[in-house]
Amino acid sequence: MKGFWKLAGMEALLYLREPIASFFTMVFPILLLFLFGSIYGNKPNPFYGGRGMVDVSTPAYMAIIIGSTALMSIPIAISTYRERGILRRFRATPLRPAAVLGAEISVHLVMTLLGAALLVVAARLVYGLHFGGNAALVFLALVLSTLSFFSVGFLVASLAPNARVANLVGMVLYFPNLFLSGATFPTEMFPPTIKAIGNFVPMTHIVRLLQGLWFGDPVGRHLTEIVVLGGLLVVGAIISALTFRWE
């Protein structure tokens, strides 16, 4: 266990030292919030179903953060570690393979939650963010959404032949998710066809789940989202486990 904690601590430090990764997790969502916040403020707005832009967008932007850790950081980190022989070097020690993977998952989960927390604090301090749900439920939904997308990230890392391809595939998955799910732009803006396509984008379910619970929807109203994300988690984890390569 000592090795796990030390590795997780080290990976967290390395994550924060990597300016691009930490920018997209910690800074970019807040900049986006300030951009739209400076246009719309957080007044009740019919365009946002009578709610404030910031209140609606804060849970949605959490999906941006999940996408950046799950579809960008994890595929690059794992495939680079494999390509450069770093995973092999770990395997030549008594450290358990599960500790290596567990450290990667934990650190990226913590970074996602940290990014979400920073976003909430910024939204609260600058725009007086409102919250009408159960904080524990939102937290659990956030963790489920994150792990679900992490399984996709690991899948990309497992199947991609090298880091370059993993990076590319991660981006190809990330951007449609980002723009079609309502994470960046509210789906209310979309014409019906785009909206329909959006239903098939996994991140849409994250946005709906987090926004719904944020405003106090009962969990029962979001069973579809929970089943989709849970299913993605199980299927992604199983295929990753079967196809994962250490070298």
């Binding site: 090795g3 030390k6 590795l7 450069r84 070097r89 770990f90 395997r91 030549a92 020690t93 358990r96």
Partner: protein
């Protein structure tokens, strides 16, 4: 098998149709520096990785420090140190962080601070991995291989890519590891390295053992004896040295003469014969065959060209 750090019997590993290691057997004694040499693709790295437990052999029995690397891999890795041929660390990790991290992976880590001094990395302790030179990276990997105070250290092509100065420094380091009571198992494709460092050398080619002995014995067995090379001035009589006792072969290329022969007094006899005949010669030197000659004579690649 007391006194044996490694016992390998009938080790065999194939990749598809390619037989990388073809049933080799050898022992490594405690506290010796044991070297494996062979042309590229001879099976050196596959062999070392089977011993480290990083690869599973298809057949054969392995006992490393009395442990089976397949069944007792974790226990074995507590007690061995490993330097991999191709490996890296994250770019941004600092030298001291890497040592602290790897130390935490072991039940009984050594204090890694003295290793920084021993490996000349003390002034690089806060440098990130990506900023280290090739030699510094190699020294860091050796430090990582020693961080658990292992009984047996595996070094896979330790000095490949290093300049001659860094290579010599690395040799001293390997000797100091042995002098601290550890066993060293290394692969190399530099014959001078094997000759300088190893107590015994295993020569493999195409997955099979070609020879296993001390460097001196391997050279002696090649049986070429001493070579005397000199430049002869005009007036040199090619038949002159044929009668000198011990001379086996005389080759001449223009003014350059190469005399091959045996016997402790060979040089004296040849020089006396030249002098007695009044032949003037320049640049006389003697050559003993080295491990490289043995290697080229023994391995397949030697027939095609130099490694």
């Amino acid at each position: 098998m007391k006194g044996m750090a490694i016992v390998a019997e009938g080790l065999r590993k194939t990749y598809g149709n390619l037989v990388a290691v073809d049933g080799i057997s050898f022992d490594v004694r405690e506290n010796e520096i044991f070297g494996v040499v062979g042309p590229n693709g001879a099976g050196k790295t596959t062999t070392i990785e089977c011993l480290e437990g990083l690869r599973s052999p298809d057949e054969g029995r392995l006992s490393i420090l009395g442990l089976d690397p397949r069944r007792e891999g974790r226990e074995l890795r507590e007690r061995i140190g490993v330097q991999l041929q191709s490996s890296a660390l994250p770019d941004d990790i600092k030298v001291r962080e890497a040592l602290g991290l790897f130390a935490s992976f072991y039940r009984k880590p050594a204090d890694w601070r003295p290793l920084l001094d021993a490996l000349g990395l003390a002034d690089k302790r806060d440098a990130p991995f990506a900023k280290l030179s090739g030699g510094q990276k190699q020294r860091l990997f050796i430090a990582l291989a020693l961080v658990n105070d292992p009984e047996l250290v595996f070094l896979d092509e330790l000095t490949t890519g290093l300049d001659p100065h860094a290579r010599r420094a690395m040799w001293d380091l390997v000797r100091s590891i042995r002098d601290r009571g550890k066993t060293v198992f290394l692969t190399t494709h530099y014959m001078e390295e094997a000759e300088a460092l190893c107590g015994r050398v295993l020569v493999i080619d195409r997955g099979r053992i070609v020879a296993l002995d001390t460097p001196d014995e391997l050279i002696r067995r090649l049986g070429e004896g001493t070579r005397i090379v000199f430049a002869a001035d005009e007036g040199y009589d090619p038949t002159l040295l044929g009668k000198v006792p011990g001379v086996v072969k005389i080759e001449q290329d223009g003014g350059r003469v190469v005399v091959t022969g045996t016997g402790d007094r060979l040089v004296v006899l040849v020089v006396n014969a030249l002098d007695a005949a009044g032949t003037r010669f320049r640049d006389l030197r003697t050559e003993r065959p080295d491990l490289e000659d043995v290697f080229l004579a023994l391995t397949q690649e030697g027939k095609g060209g130099r490694v």
